[in-house]
Symmetry: C2
């Protein structure tokens, strides 16, 4: 698509048609400016098949704020809506409604509460709460979900890979396999969730990062095609990038050709006073090859250069590589821990697509509507009890136990003071008999998780840097029980309702069913 068209499609028209038909209906009924509240939350942690996440890492809010800021109904947008016809040939959208969109619709009319990016989040807990005119809240639904679902999905995947690699550097290079321009947002999310840097030049630029990358197989092929060899290609690279020399060693044969040629080039660099950066392995048994390559590099006097691994890595593959190195390295006279600490992981497809579970099931639900000055909680019941909404205006608290660990997220009514409740009752969201009672002495801290982000048309929170989000992320992950952090079969983190919210929910269910 041309840039201009893309700009149109990614503005306020980044929405579903039914938001607009509903908005017109609300307009026609005089309901469009009634205050409404919508919760965004996701229903379940990503399940990748043989492994699943025990939590998510929140991402997307910064992009959402940018989108809201740019999203207006201009002439082109209105003209398109004006051109739409109903089945009988009349205009689908009436002029008075279009005038309202033009003159009165503004994303600045909403108040937004949200969890900051980088925070650990859990299923069925509101992450973004939108309060504002019904028609506005409805029209922004799709753009909000489009922006935050995907970024949280990818930040979560990146955090898993970082964890599997024991905190070693993680490079994101999925641009070629992402969903078109979505990969730009994916890069952002990866940087928040666990990647240290990215190969994506444009995304890195706009996010203030330095992109990473050296060369591909094609460079070696060019030299071979012109009658020279891998060594000449490596040497050319070292001549031009003497202080950034990282060589891809598997174009011909990793151990027979690539590593020996890299060592020759590294020796020459060293003699000239430069420090070579490392090698990259992109095929074969990466654990085994990294041990043998490390051995060759060590023997040649390069025990410090990095070994970058790539080729369809995901968290389980990385975990397996680390495990195999621990089992196999000593046999070759290589210290496994030193080797693990010189590894760098390059991840493409699996990270940018969240392979195994390529979508987060985030939803956006009407939970309350204001009638005169009073908020009326709304419910959607369902045959599946897990899908019944938690109604009304709410607050979210993270409950830290006496070890300082996060033990539950507690969803309460907006106006109740959970600090004074002793014992603090944590109700299971759907199962009547499941509940915990925490004595005040067992609770070290109650942290309010939703912060005001937009109020009266102004952004009222700080805009943190990605570096700050990462600090938050690490703190939150540290505060989790190790069982919840596990890559496979994680403990289920408690998400609970306060007694008051539980009571309200039961009352509304009873009312709806009668």
């Amino acid at each position: 698509m041309k840039q201009k068209a893309l700009q149109t499609a990614s503005g306020i028209l980044l929405t579903d048609q039914y938001q607009l038909t509903m908005a017109q209906l609300y307009f026609r009924m005089g309901l469009h400016e009634k205050n409404a509240q919508f919760d965004h939350f996701y229903r379940s942690n990503p399940d990748y098949g043989i492994h699943k996440a025990g939590f998510c890492v929140n991402a997307g809010l910064g992009s959402l704020l940018d989108w809201l800021d740019d999203a207006v109904f201009g002439e082109e947008e209105l003209q398109f809506l004006r051109s739409q016809k109903s089945s009988n040939g009349d205009p689908l959208f009436a002029e008075d409604f279009l005038n309202w969109l033009k003159n009165d619709f503004s994303t600045k009319a909403i108040n937004l509460y949200a969890m900051p990016e980088g925070r650990v989040v859990h299923p069925n807990v509101p992450i973004h709460v939108v309060e504002g005119p019904l028609a506005v809240g409805q029209i922004v639904e799709t753009g909000l979900l489009n922006t935050v679902n995907y970024q949280t999905l990818i930040a979560t995947k990146a955090s898993r890979m970082k964890q599997a690699g024991r905190g070693q550097p993680l490079l994101e290079f999925g641009l070629r396999r992402g969903q078109g321009l979505g990969a730009i947002q994916g890069t952002r999310a990866a940087l928040i969730g666990g990647a240290d840097s990215s190969s994506n030049v444009g995304a890195s630029h706009i996010l203030g990062f330095t992109p990473k990358g050296t060369h591909a197989h094609s460079m070696v092929q060019v030299f071979m095609g012109l009658g020279e060899g891998e060594l000449a290609a490596f040497q050319a690279y070292a001549d031009i990038y003497p202080d950034d020399c990282l060589l891809l060693v598997d174009t011909i044969d990793t151990l027979e050709s690539g590593v020996p040629n890299a060592i020759k080039v590294f020796e020459k660099l060293k003699r000239k006073g430069h420090q070579p950066i490392g090698i990259r392995l992109d095929s074969g048994d990466l654990a085994h090859l990294s041990i043998l390559a490390a051995k060759m590099l060590n023997d040649a006097g390069f025990p410090e250069v990095s070994i970058v691994l790539s080729n369809n890595l995901d968290e389980l593959v990385i975990w397996q590589i680390v495990t195999q190195i621990q089992e196999e390295a000593e046999r070759y006279g290589v210290d496994p821990n030193s080797l693990i600490k010189r590894l760098v992981y390059g991840v493409g497809t699996s990270l940018i697509t969240s392979q195994g579970d390529p979508a987060l099931d985030g939803v956006y639900k009407l939970v309350a509507i204001q009638e005169k000055a009073e908020w009326i909680p709304t419910l959607k019941i369902s045959e599946n009890i897990d899908k019944v909404l938690n109604p009304g205006n709410k607050r979210v608290w993270r409950v830290y136990d006496d070890r300082g660990k996060a033990t539950a997220d507690l969803v309460s009514l907006f106006d109740e003071d959970v600090h004074t409740q002793d014992p603090l009752i944590l109700r299971h969201p759907t199962m009547e008999r499941k509940q915990r009672a925490l004595q005040a002495s067992q609770v070290s801290r109650l942290e309010k998780l939703l912060i005001p982000v937009i109020r009266d048309g102004e952004v009222v929170c700080e805009k943190p840097s990605i570096e700050e989000m990462r600090v938050k992320r690490d703190q939150d992950i540290d505060a989790l029980d190790p069982g919840v952090r596990r890559l496979m079969n994680p403990h289920i983190y408690h998400v609970s309702l306060s007694q008051n919210l539980w009571d309200l929910k039961q009352l509304l269910i009873k009312k709806a069913r009668s």
Copy 2:
């Protein structure tokens, strides 16, 4: 991201860092304007786990042309590259190279051959062939892969869903679950591959389509919250959209509340001379509910209104719905075939993410480089014989047999005339003993698949409409053997090398290994 930032990140900087470091190396070595040829192809059809594709539907070329047209190194891009530092603190990119990017780099310098969008394509067959200055061909690699991999993936998934639904209307509404803005490109691909329309307002607009959608559960919830009920919500909708009345019937209870209320509203519409459009079922056993809903609608005198099904549909779920209706409908006095013909499928997550296999493994490989006036074929060998490139400048032919069915795609050398070869030898790409010999009488047509798209800086092909692409798609799918079209365990379509290409490949492998 702000629109301005997005624009920057989606232009020429939609590339990987190593393309730029390699380009500078080529520049420094005087190789950057050497003519090179790159093939884009994918290695394997999507494998969704318990089912897999037997072919793909090609998509993305139109977007690629738009991207190439917009991709230039302007001041911002150059300034960013200028700001990058090598490890020793010096600028990573030298001014002479940046000047070349500024003054001499142009995507118009490449010639492009490609398969048209909508065509059926197969693994290991070049779909896009880029010929031009080495550094330009390298820098555009990532943008090309980013644009075409995803769109082909989604067009393929859409074609499978369309097939499972026996050609009934397919609505795409995955915007909220796609990868951010990638969903815009996903909508385009879905419309090419099998979707009839989309809920995505912006994407529909820029593609010249009318978006589709009616209302969500929230509309019914609003009325309930304000003390009215589902019937009042439906009636309001019918009043405002009397000729476009499609009602979502599962907010409370599909059969007890939703369908009876819809019928009441439909009867009123009918009395006023309007034709109701239909109902949408979004939860529960969709096959069973559609039968019972059809029965109720039939009995009420609405045998013609549509029944739209949604809720985590994919091709297997659609297939199962159709099968179950055939087994179960008659028991309720509903004709299964009439019911199947009034169904409409709404698909979200599974389509926009290609659930089960969320990335196409498309690659872009250097296959030849020009030295003086001569093209030198290049090879990348690999431990995996299936991954050894097909070298050199090539042509692709679709071979139709005496039934008029496509029986193989044949990759030949560029300058060989396969028409005169009798018998025509089709060699398996890697297995020496596997080959077929077709007598001239067994070949009804040899179709050249790659057409010139860009030549001397100009687009030299027609830009087909999406409607025209769909015609091509249907023709190509019709020409496949039914076994290849199968949703599960498809026959493997033959992709073959000509004898001459086979011989060249063997020669180059021997040379590389010696």
